[in-house]
Symmetry: C2
Subunit: 370 residues, 2 copies
């Protein structure tokens, strides 16, 4: 995951990947689409290095195995072709963790480091994917997972909830419009970066055909639970009204139709740049912590494992909503109390809690012209 | 500056550039060689982006103005040509500081951020320059300043000094041999990265024709002063013998002849790869703090400004030599005492203290063949 402004950030140095086993499962699942895309590329005959990008890669941990698979697929057909991987994320991302992880200086010491692959060149780009990140027509393959739900800006407040899924109708319209504009911007930039014939495979959070989305797949709604515990801090007088209202995820979960829209509209920038939709589908990936709980049945252990994974990507939103005039230890105590209450609820009534992932998988081709 | 192993590192986030005004002066001075190199490149007709690398760039601060100059030179001849800058350094380098600095999120807010240049693409490569860092034949221009004196490994101990300039004859031979081998490795990797006709401009610490080197230009010898104060900690019983001996800069200052050697030897890897020497010269750059002192004459102020710039690049060597079994606050106190003693000496007897830079500037071309 990646955020789109410096106001929103993740905790650094390995914390992210270790707490996002589910995100890795999604990426591995998207690997089949990536393999299909590579199968259609002229790997043997292409000029120069086979170049790919991973947009919103964080520390690169969750996509490491996918990158290994890509390298294997390319080298099976072109054993000597050089490969260049460009990992992108926001400027404040921990790129040092990324370089150390890919070089085996951090993380799983039992595996051969990705960077030990002969003739593989790894770089980082610390720039928002709302900008073009690579020169024109330089990428064979673009990939992104669980990143592009972050909007380029917050289009307005959400007064009585924390995420657009709980916004009122007028608030929702503003988020939806921002998401549509942002998606056009993202696709247009990617279309410029791709070589003619290049492929783009993305796996993004979505609302699926049954109305399911992250943490809302039939059980307890995760975002409603966030909102409930945040509201409880307000009603208890622990935080002020402005702090209550300020906790808003700068995100939007698009539907498959919304994702496909620019590619079906010949007047869109992406379509005019030659980007064509090859595949779109939605996928639910079971929460690994809820799955573990089904096996072990220990509610307290589930709560202790589950809430940190939520915290890893949500904490900055709640911490950032607090009045900066409060001393740092006070802010930390409020955030601890917030996640503590969530954890206590899960421990007391664990059934139905799950951060199941709901993704829209897409594959696109930039048409060769002339 | 950049170091060659993870055991040696710099202090992060802006500290480096702010304390290395002299390093920036050197880079600006090398800008004329860079401008000459660009003048000889087919900027108007080259395919794709104009691609350059800055090897051992740290946070990118000291080369920012040079990069602005390069962009200006390229765009004056090819106003629409895309430009790609790849900044390299070791994996633990603070690349986030680099991205924030180039995007204007850190540093001088009065200047237009480099990254705001239209059609400019910035990336980071967190890999040692002892490896090839970019795919074959992808760079128009390589640049590096004050980085390649760091060796790939420590070839042996220096028993009674901290740097090879104070080594005994046998110790010196080992460092010199390692430096020769390392320089061949560096040039061979750069030769592969350059496009045919591409240019490489480097400014490296050296021993010049008069035997001058960093901090040794006729006044008090800086490395001897380091060695003296470190020895004093040992003789005072503040550090142990092993700690005294372990403080060794993994560096070597080559002569201009040593720098030129592989390019004059047709059997070297670099020469075989087509790398040809166009220019070599040595330059002394006055210590900005000593210059300031000449003007203001305040010895205490000089010492307070001067010693931190030494500390910025040397601290990890001394801190790293201390027994890790010592509690961290104790180690910090020893390091503070060490630089404190150096500062007290400068304050008491300021004359002759100066970290004048002594550089070897080189310009090379990768010959176009066939």
């Amino acid at each position: 995951m990646s955020s789109a402004t410096s106001a929103i950030s993740m905790r650094g140095a390995g914390y992210y990947s270790a707490n996002t086993a589910g995100a890795k499962t999604v990426i591995d699942k998207a690997g089949d689409l990536v393999a299909e895309a590579i199968a259609a590329l002229p790997v043997e005959t292409g000029a120069g290095a086979f170049a790919l990008a991973d947009y919103g890669a964080a520390d690169g941990g969750t996509s490491l195995d996918l990158m290994r698979r890509v390298v294997g697929l390319v080298r099976s057909r072109a054993p000597n072709r050089q490969i260049a991987i460009g990992y992108t994320d926001l400027p404040h991302n921990d790129f040092s963790a990324l370089f150390r992880l890919t070089q085996g200086l951090l993380g799983d010491a039992t595996k051969t480091p990705l960077a030990a692959t002969p003739e593989l060149y790894i770089s980082g780009v610390g720039t928002s994917f709302y900008r073009q990140l690579f020169p024109d027509a330089t990428l064979d393959l673009g990939f992104s997972a669980t990143a592009m739900h972050w909007l380029s800006k917050k289009p307005g407040p959400i007064a009585d909830h924390v995420q657009a899924v709980g916004a009122n109708a007028a608030e929702r319209v503003a988020f939806q419009a921002q998401a549509a504009e942002d998606w056009e911007t993202i696709l247009a930039a990617r279309a410029r970066e791709l070589k003619p014939g290049g492929k783009l495979v993305v796996a993004n959070f979505c609302v699926d055909g049954q109305g399911r989305y992250l943490g809302n797949t039939g059980g307890v709604n995760m975002f409603d639970t966030f909102a409930k515990h945040w509201r409880a801090l307000w009603t208890a007088g622990r935080i002020g009204e402005a702090e209550y209202r300020a906790a808003t995820f700068q995100q939007f979960y698009r539907t498959a139709e919304e994702f496909a829209a620019p590619l079906k509209n010949p007047a869109s920038q992406a379509a005019k740049a030659g980007l064509r939709l090859d595949h779109v589908s939605t996928h639910v990936t079971r929460c690994p912590y809820a799955k573990d709980f089904e096996r072990h049945g220990d509610a307290a252990a589930f709560a202790r494992a589950y809430v940190p994974t939520l915290r890893s990507w949500s904490e900055t939103v709640f911490a950032g909503a607090l009045d900066p005039a409060r001393p740092a230890p006070e802010r930390a105590a409020i955030v601890d109390a917030f996640y503590g209450a969530y954890e206590a609820e899960v421990a007391a009534t664990p059934d139905g809690h799950a951060m199941d992932y709901v993704h829209c998988f897409m594959s696109m081709t930039k048409e060769s012209r002339g």
